[in-house]
């Protein structure tokens, strides 16, 4: 019953490729499938570099605007302000691109591809964990760009290379933990628009109501009270201390914030993801 128009070799190749049962004996573990999914995320980053560019340009703009426009007014000199600002901008930059986790997830959910993944005998959360591998790479790139721009503008951290790398890694770690919020929201909200709108709103509020741009000492009492408990502030403070040579003294509250995010949002996301509709 085969159609005449179809070349014979194609017919044969079809039967051959379907004939051999080349199914690998050993099924890959959770780590392996997560890495494979991570590879997928990296290919997607490579395929749309514009997105990464857009994401990195924002913190660079913030650095320029705040350093030169307000820096002198806030700290006496723009150069001095930059030493204060940069570790915070690093964290803000990572946070802003972290919403992309949720956006990418919702667009995956709208394609049929998750149905295929979920009907395969692989560790179920692999698509989620793999996406986070891609995210970490994005955070690394973003923070490297911010630090490079900072250095070019005159950022001279007392913490030396180790301190700077420590501050960057902390920002990336925090971004990784925050990504789980977007993963959860992506699974709940299901449309890219909803996730990015909510993400931008939350992040704008939370990063401006923080110690990224100014010390809270001059803020009104109600705002200062909020800023003092804003977890972003803990991370910014710790990153600042690392970069400016004050060591790991302020690390504990930052790491606790990270841990709390993971403890809350990893199980929530996995439950939501694995739940049968």
């Amino acid at each position: 019953m085969t159609t005449a128009a179809r070349p014979i070799e194609v017919e044969e190749r079809l039967l051959r490729v379907l004939g051999e049962d080349t199914r690998p004996q050993q099924r890959p573990g959770a780590l392996s499938t997560s890495l494979t999914m991570g590879w997928r995320a990296l290919v997607k980053i490579k395929r749309s570099p514009g997105q990464l560019f857009n994401a990195t340009i924002t913190p660079v703009m913030f650095t320029l605007i705040f350093t030169y426009l307000f820096g002198g007014a806030i700290s006496g000199s723009s150069r001095e302000y930059l030493q204060f600002l940069l570790p915070g901008i690093l964290v803000q930059g990572v946070l802003f691109i972290s919403t992309q986790t949720g956006v990418a997830l919702t667009s995956d959910l709208q394609q049929g591809i998750f149905d295929r993944f979920k009907s395969m005998p692989v560790w179920r959360p692999s698509p989620l964990t793999g996406a986070l591998i891609g995210d970490v790479v994005r955070y690394l790139i973003s923070s490297a760009v911010v630090v490079a721009v900072g250095l070019a503008l005159g950022f001279r951290p007392d913490g030396g290379p180790l301190g700077v790398i420590g501050g960057m890694l902390l920002a990336v770690l925090f971004g990784f933990c925050v990504s789980w919020i977007w993963t959860f929201l992506g699974l709940v909200l299901r449309t890219p628009q909803a996730v990015s709108a909510l993400g931008m709103l939350l992040l704008s509020l939370l990063t401006f109501a923080s110690n990224i741009f100014a010390e809270p000492t001059t803020m009104p009492g109600w705002l200062k009270a909020f800023v003092d408990i804003n977890p972003i502030g803990y991370v910014v403070t710790a990153s600042r201390s690392l970069m400016n040579g004050d060591g790991a003294a302020d690390l504990a509250p930052a790491l606790v914030s990270c841990a709390v995010l993971l403890i809350v949002f990893v199980p929530l996301s996995l439950l939501r993801y694995n739940k049968s509709e």
Partner: protein, 336 residues
């Protein structure tokens, strides 16, 4: 039927809010053949496949795939099946090669073996030229072939295909049919859904007709068709004045009423080829006939015959707009 069952559902129920998408469905799908699930839009075909592929849990009743319960032994089931959804389930940002590579890796192929497997599949599915282009730019037919190839990276015991040819042009449709036939020839059971009786007829050894989540009829395509008659005979006469006489002859030979459907045209519904041949012989002895044709029964006619009412076809846009809209546009580009 004593052969092994690939799928067995008993009283399977699945509701979404007030909608009973699947409403007490009993299916027995023998292994080693193509089984067609035929039904109009909204009949519950996709929901049925999603339950069988372990994506949804039934609210009531049970579903087994090769004897394994889809809820309690989901992993056993996943080892045996592959699902190619109604809306393309490939990654648009990835190339054809990368899509297959990804799945091969997930199935445990090491990097070189994965690449080899992907290349073999691309060749077999006639996608070599497009291998390094993102799937986003594929035509509907190419995307569908990639989609089916993705379901065959390791050969499953049971392959689910949800409306594999909806929206395809006839050539692409024939290619997909060839692939399905080759797959069954190699021992994979195929469970496909379709809205076209002709597709079920061409491919499936057995067919279940469903509507509103319920089984309306089950049997071989032949049995289904004979329950409907074999479609209709259309005769074009040279001289309109012969209409009454021609009508008398046809009714006599066929045993069904003949309607006048044109200036010199008669249509008789519910006829089978043998009596048509006899009737035409009788007719042409005395009356001049310009043209005649036999039309296959349409799904609408099957429905009408089986349920006594035309199929209800709901507007797809009315459901879950956020989830479906993106997928829909991706597959429909070739349909018009």
């Amino acid at each position: 039927m004593s052969t092994e069952l690939a799928v067995e559902t008993v009283g399977m129920v699945k509701s979404f809010g007030a909608t009973k998408a699947v409403d007490g469905l009993d299916l027995s799908v023998p292994a080693g053949a193509v089984y067609g699930v035929l039904g109009p839009n909204g009949a519950g075909k996709t929901t049925t496949l999603r339950i069988l592929a372990t994506l949804l849990a039934p609210d009531a009743g049970s579903a087994r795939v090769f004897g394994h319960d889809v809820v309690r032994e989901a992993n056993r089931v996943r080892e045996r099946v592959s699902l190619t959804g109604q809306f393309a389930s490939v990654d648009n940002d990835l190339t054809g090669m990368e899509n297959l590579l990804l799945l091969a890796r997930l199935h445990g192929y090491r990097s070189t073996a994965a690449r080899e497997r992907a290349r073999d599949l691309l060749e077999a599915f006639d996608l070599v030229e497009a291998a390094d282009r993102p799937a986003r730019g594929y035509s509907g037919g190419m995307r569908r072939r990639l989609d089916v190839a993705a379901g065959l990276v390791v050969r499953p015991q049971l392959m689910f295909l949800d409306e594999p040819t909806t929206g395809l042009d006839p050539r692409s449709r024939n290619e997909v049919w060839d692939i399905i036939r080759a797959t069954v020839e190699r021992g994979t059971t195929v469970l496909l859904t379709t809205q076209y009786l002709e597709e079920a007829d061409q491919l499936a050894q057995r067919v279940a007709v469903i509507d509103h989540g319920k089984l309306v009829a089950e049997g071989t395509p032949g049995e289904l068709k004979s329950s409907v008659g074999h479609g209709s005979l259309r005769v074009e006469l040279t001289d309109p004045d012969d209409l009454p006489e021609a009508s008398r002859i046809l009714v006599g030979a066929l045993g069904v009423p003949a309607e006048t459907t044109g200036p010199a045209r008669l249509t008789a519904r519910g006829t089978d080829p043998r009596s048509v041949a006899r009737a035409l012989g009788e007719l042409t002895r005395t009356i001049e006939v310009d043209d005649f044709a036999m039309d296959r029964p349409s799904l609408d006619e099957v429905f009408l015959a089986l349920t006594g009412r035309p199929p209800t076809s709901e507007v797809p846009a009315a459901r879950k707009p956020a989830r479906k809209s993106g997928r829909k546009s991706a597959t429909n580009e070739e349909s018009r």
